[in-house]
C-alpha cells in the first residue's frame, strides 16, 4: 500500500515539475553529507554560497543553526547533517550553503561538500526499497534513489526536509546502501 502511494506521489510530482521547468527537468544538484551523496532537484536551488557568519538563535532546534545575511536579506540556515541526526562536523572551507527556495520560503542548507549537477533520467529513479521495518516511518526526506553510472544519489524532498518531524535518515541510508551493495 505504502509503495503504491509513494509511486503515485512521485508520478504526480514529476508531472507538475515537467509542466513547469522543462529545461531544468531531470537535473539534480548533488552534495555529500556523511558518506552519502544526496540530490536536490535543481529548480529549488537558488544559489550556492560560501559559509558565512551565522547568528545563532536561542531556543530553537539544534539543526537550525541561525540566521545569515544574504545581501541584505535575512535567511535561516539549517545543518543538513544535524537534520539527518548524523554526527556534527567541523565547518571548513569546503563547507558551503545551498540556498533553496520552496514555496517562496528561502532557506540555506549547510552541507559538507558540494558535488556536481547531474542529470538523472526518470527510468533511473527508483522508489526507496521498503524491505523490513515497514512499521517505521520511512522515506520521509528521501523520495527516490537515482542511479548515475555506478553511483547512487539519494533524492531529497526539500519540502519534507524543512518541515517534517525528525527522522533518522542515516539508518535509512545505510539500509539502502546495503541493499544496493
Amino acid at each position: 500500500m505504502e509503495e503504491l502511494s509513494e509511486l503515485k506521489r512521485q508520478v504526480e510530482k514529476d508531472q507538475t515539475t515537467s509542466s513547469k521547468h522543462d529545461a531544468q527537468k531531470g537535473k539534480y544538484m548533488t552534495f555529500k553529507s556523511g558518506h552519502e551523496y544526496f540530490g536536490l532537484e535543481i529548480q529549488y536551488v537558488n544559489e550556492i554560497i560560501q559559509l558565512q557568519t551565522i547568528t545563532a538563535i536561542p531556543e530553537t532546534e539544534d539543526y537550525i543553526k541561525g540566521l545569515i545575511n544574504l545581501r541584505g536579506k535575512v535567511i535561516p540556515v539549517i545543518d543538513v547533517r544535524l537534520r539527518f541526526k548524523q554526527e556534527p562536523f567541523e565547518y571548513n572551507d569546503r563547507t558551503c550553503i545551498i540556498v533553496i527556495n520552496i514555496k517562496s520560503m528561502v532557506v540555506g542548507l549547510i552541507i559538507e561538500k558540494i558535488a556536481e549537477v547531474v542529470e538523472i533520467k526518470e527510468e533511473n529513479i527508483l522508489p526507496p526499497p521498503t524491505l523490513g521495518r515497514v512499521d517505521k516511518a520511512h522515506h520521509k526526506y528521501v523520495y527516490g534513489i537515482g542511479k548515475v553510472g555506478d553511483e547512487v544519489k539519494l533524492l531529497l524532498d526539500p519540502d519534507k526536509l524543512l518541515n517534517d518531524e525528525d527522522l533518522s535518515v542515516v539508518e535509512q541510508a545505510n539500509e539502502m546502501n546495503n541493499d544496493e551493495g
Binding site: 538563535i57 536561542p58 530553537t60 535567511i75
Partner: protein, 719 residues
C-alpha cells in the same frame, strides 16, 4: 482599438478622488451636525461634491451612483437657490450621510471588482419625499428657482494648483483621417496631460458621451488649452505622435489667451492686453474676477465676451475658489498621490542604505593603524547627514495625521448615540498627531471598538444620568498625543465607569482569581485587565453595537501585534479612560547594541530606564536560584541573558558586565549583559517565519559589519 484604452488607471483615480471627496463631505457634515442648519459655504460645497461625483460616475458609467448623487445635488440645489426656512437639519444630515454611505459602499464593491448593484430606488424616493417636504415648508410665495440645468462647461481631473512658474500652451492635435473613435483617442491625450496639468480645457468638450464629436475632432482637430509647469518638449512626449495622431502642434501662449478659452478663435490678431504684464499680475487680476464671481454663484450662462475681456469665460467658478477658501494662495501645498507599494519599496531601499552606510563607515579596513582618514571622515560625516535626512523625510512621508481615523470615530459616535437615544458631546483633541501609516491601519478597528463601548456601555441613559446628578448630555473625549516616542490615544467618557465588584464576581466565577486572596488585594489595574480576557463580558445584553463576540480581547491582541498596549482606568460612577499606547513607527527604531558572549543583541532605547554597574554585595541570591539586585534601595529581579538564551562564553560575574534596567508597563527587570557596544538606528526586520517564535525576541537587524543581531522584546523578557 477600443481595447487599447484601459480604464484601470481611470478607475483608480475615480475611486481615489471620490473617496477623498466623500471623506471631506462627511467631515463637513458632522462638523455642523449640531448647528441649526448648514451655512452657505457648506451647502455649496456639498452641492459641488455631489456634482463632481455625479460627473465622474457618469463618465465611468456607474448609473446608480450617478442617480443618487444627482438626487442629493437637486436637494442642495434647491437649498442653495431658495434658502428655504424650517429645514429639518438632522434629517438632512441623515440623508447626506446615507447617500455618502451608499456611494462608499458602491465604491468598495467596484474596488473589489464586484458590480456596483446597490438598490437606489429607496434612497431616491426618500430624497424625493424630503425635497417635497422642504419645498412645501418653504414660503409658498417664494419664487421658484430655475431648474438645475448643469450647463457649465465641464473640466475633468483638474488639480486646482497654479503657481507663477506656470506656462500656458495651445495644443492642436490632428488625427489621421479614418481614425475610429477619435474622441476616445482625444480623451487619452487629455488623460495623459492631466498628470502635468494645472488647468486644462479642451474642445470639443463633450468627447466622452458624444460619439459624434469624433467627426468634429477629425475634421477640425482637437484643441487643448493647457496650463502646466513643463516645457513644450515634455508635452510632445506625453502626447506623442503615434499610429493615430498625425500631428501635434504646441504653441506657448499668454495667460490671458488661456483664460479666454476657445472663444477667441484662431485668428492671429488675438487680443493681447498687455504683453509685459507678468503672470502674477494676471493671476492677481484673475483672482479679483473670481472673487467677484463668488457672490454671483454659478450663472446658467454668461454673455459672450468681447475679445480682450478678462472675464474667464470657460472656467467653472467652483474649482479655484474652493482652494482660495481653504487656504490663502501664498502657502499652497500641492499633493500627489503615490502608489503605496512604491513608498514601501523606497522605505526598504533607504533601510538598506542605512545599513550599507554603517557597513562602509565601520568597515574593518579602516581600522588599519596609521591611516590618515581626515578626508574620509569629512566625507563620511556628510554622507551620514544626508542618509539621516533622507530617512527622516521618508519617515515623515509615511506619517499620516490621525484626523481621518478620528473623523471615522466621530461618525460612529453620531450613529450609535442617535440609535441609542443618547445625547453625546464628542470632543476630539490632538487629531493632528501623526503616526506611521502602517500603524494607523491597525488601530482603526480597535479604536472603533473602544469608542463604541464608551458610547454604548460607558455613557448611561439620559434618565440615569439625571438621577445621578450628571448633565444630561454625556461626554466622550478622544485625544491623541505623542510622548516619549509613543503615541497615546485615549478614549475618555464621563459615564458609569467599570464596576469593580461585578468584574471580581465574574472573575471568581470563572476561576481567574486565587481563592485564598481576598478581593481587596487586587489592584484596580489588575481587576480591569480581566475585561480584556477572551470570553469575559459583564454585559448581559447583546446590543446592536457591542457584545457581538468581538471583544476587548481582540482589541488587545490587535494592539499588541503592533507593539502597543492598553491601559484602563476607571472610577465607578465617574467614567473611564481607555488609553492606547502605540509606537510611532515600526520600521526604524533607536536601539542599544550589546554583546553577550559572541552574540550581539539590540534592545529598543525607549525600554531602557538606565544602565548600572553593580557589585557582588548588591546581589541577593535566593536558594532556588532566583537572583535580585538592590539598587538605591529598590529591588529588581535579575535576568541573565546569557543563561536565559543558553549562549556561550558569557560573563558570569556581575562586576564584569552591565545591568540594564528595563521598564515595561511599570514592571521592571534588570537585564545582565556582557558589554554595551553603542546606540544606533536599527532597521527592524522580521525573523524568517521558518523559525518558530522565540519568547523575548521581536525581530532581527543587520549591524554595521554586516552581521545579524537579534532584537530583544522587552515586554517578552519581563513576562
Amino acid at each position: 482599438m477600443a481595447e487599447e484604452f484601459s480604464t484601470d488607471g481611470m478607475l483608480d483615480i475615480y475611486l481615489f478622488e471620490n473617496s477623498q471627496l466623500l471623506e471631506q463631505l462627511q467631515d463637513m457634515v458632522l462638523e455642523q451636525k449640531d448647528e441649526e442648519c448648514f451655512d452657505e459655504d457648506s451647502i455649496n460645497e456639498i452641492f459641488r461634491t455631489m456634482h463632481t461625483i455625479k460627473g465622474s460616475s457618469g463618465i465611468m458609467m456607474f448609473d446608480e451612483i450617478t442617480t443618487v448623487a444627482h438626487k442629493l445635488e437637486d436637494v442642495f440645489y434647491y437649498l442653495r437657490e431658495s434658502h428655504p426656512q424650517n429645514v429639518p437639519h438632522l434629517e438632512l444630515v441623515d440623508h447626506v450621510l446615507e447617500v455618502a454611505d451608499f456611494i462608499s459602499n458602491e465604491m468598495e464593491k467596484i474596488q473589489n471588482g464586484d458590480p456596483a448593484d446597490g438598490e437606489v430606488g429607496e434612497i431616491v424616493a426618500r430624497l424625493d419625499v424630503f425635497l417635497e417636504k422642504i419645498k412645501s415648508n418653504a414660503d409658498a410665495g417664494e419664487e421658484k428657482p430655475p431648474e438645475n440645468k448643469h450647463e457649465e462647461p465641464k473640466q475633468f481631473y483638474i488639480s486646482p494648483v497654479a503657481t507663477s512658474a506656470s506656462r500656458f500652451y495651445k495644443i492642436y492635435i490632428h488625427f489621421f483621417e479614418g481614425t475610429e473613435m477619435a474622441n476616445v483617442h482625444a480623451y487619452k491625450a487629455v488623460y495623459a496631460l492631466k498628470e502635468i496639468a494645472e488647468d486644462l480645457l479642451y474642445s470639443p468638450e463633450d468627447i466622452i458621451s458624444d460619439p459624434s464629436s469624433a467627426e468634429t475632432i477629425i475634421k477640425e482637430g482637437f484643441k487643448i488649452l493647457l496650463q502646466a509647469q513643463c516645457g513644450e518638449e515634455e508635452i510632445r512626449q506625453i502626447i506623442g505622435v503615434g499610429y493615430d495622431i498625425e500631428k501635434v502642434d504646441v504653441f506657448e501662449c499668454k495667460a490671458e489667451e488661456f483664460l479666454q478659452g476657445f472663444d477667441f478663435g484662431e485668428q492671429d490678431d488675438a487680443p493681447v492686453i498687455d504683453l509685459d504684464s507678468s503672470v502674477e499680475e494676471i493671476e492677481a487680476q484673475t483672482q479679483g474676477t473670481e472673487d467677484g464671481e463668488k457672490a454671483e454663484e454659478k450663472k446658467p450662462a454668461k454673455p459672450a465676451i468681447a475679445p480682450g475681456d478678462f472675464v474667464i469665460k470657460s472656467k467653472d467658478p467652483g474649482k479655484q475658489r474652493k482652494l482660495a477658501k481653504d487656504k490663502p494662495k501664498s502657502d499652497k501645498a500641492s499633493y500627489i498621490s503615490v502608489n503605496i507599494g512604491k513608498m514601501d519599496q523606497l522605505m526598504e531601499l533607504i533601510g538598506e542604505l542605512v545599513i550599507s552606510e554603517s557597513v562602509v563607515l565601520q568597515n574593518p579596513d579602516l581600522k588599519v593603524p596609521g591611516l590618515n582618514l581626515d578626508n574620509f571622515n569629512k566625507a563620511a560625516a556628510q554622507l551620514s547627514k544626508i542618509a539621516t535626512d533622507l530617512q527622516n523625510v521618508i519617515m515623515s512621508m509615511r506619517m499620516v495625521p490621525l484626523t481621518n481615523t478620528f473623523q471615522k470615530m466621530n461618525r460612529i459616535v453620531f450613529d450609535v448615540s442617535r440609535k441609542l437615544g443618547k445625547d453625546i458631546d464628542f470632543v476630539m483633541v490632538g487629531e493632528q498627531t501623526e503616526v506611521d501609516r502602517n500603524i494607523i491601519e491597525h488601530i482603526s478597528d480597535p479604536l472603533m471598538h473602544i469608542v463604541r463601548n464608551s458610547v454604548d456601555h460607558g455613557i448611561e441613559s439620559k434618565e440615569e444620568r439625571v438621577e445621578s446628578g450628571k448633565p444630561e448630555k454625556g461626554k466622550v473625549t478622544l485625544s491623541a498625543k505623542t510622548e516619549a516616542g509613543k503615541v497615546w490615544i485615549c478614549v475618555e467618557d464621563d459615564g458609569a465607569g467599570l464596576d469593580r465588584d461585578k468584574i471580581i464576581a465574574k472573575a471568581r466565577k470563572q476561576g481567574l482569581l486565587d481563592d485564598n486572596k481576598p478581593d481587596s488585594e487586587y489592584t484596580d489595574k489588575e481587576v480591569f485587565q480581566f475585561i480584556t480576557l477572551p470570553g469575559f463580558s459583564t454585559n448581559e445584553v447583546v446590543t446592536e453595537y457591542s457584545g457581538r463576540g468581538v471583544g476587548m480581547d481582540v482589541v488587545v491582541q490587535n494592539i499588541q501585534k503592533i507593539g502597543g498596549s492598553l491601559e484602563i482606568e476607571s472610577e465607578k460612577g465617574f467614567g473611564s479612560i481607555m488609553s492606547l499606547k502605540i509606537p510611532l513607527t515600526l520600521a526604524i527604531i533607536d536601539g542599544i547594541v550589546m554583546e553577550i558572549g559572541t552574540s550581539s543583541f539590540v534592545i529598543e532605547t525607549g525600554a531602557i530606564k538606565e544602565f548600572v554597574r553593580v557589585n557582588e554585595e548588591m546581589m541577593i541570591h535566593e536558594p532556588d536560584g532566583e537572583e535580585y539586585v538592590m539598587i538605591r534601595g529598590e529591588c529588581f529581579p535579575v535576568l541573565r541573558l546569557g543563561e536565559w538564551f543558553e549562549l556561550n562564553n558569557y560573563r558570569e560575574s556581575v562586576e564584569e558586565g552591565v545591568m540594564l534596567i528595563l521598564e515595561v508597563d511599570e514592571k521592571k527587570v534588570c537585564l545582565f549583559v556582557d558589554k554595551l557596544i553603542g546606540e544606533q538606528e536599527i532597521v527592524v526586520k522580521p525573523i524568517p517565519s521558518y523559525i518558530k517564535k522565540v519568547k523575548g525576541l521581536s525581530g532581527c537587524t543587520q549591524l554595521g559589519d554586516g552581521s545579524i543581531a537579534l532584537i530583544l522584546d522587552a515586554a517578552g523578557l519581563i513576562e
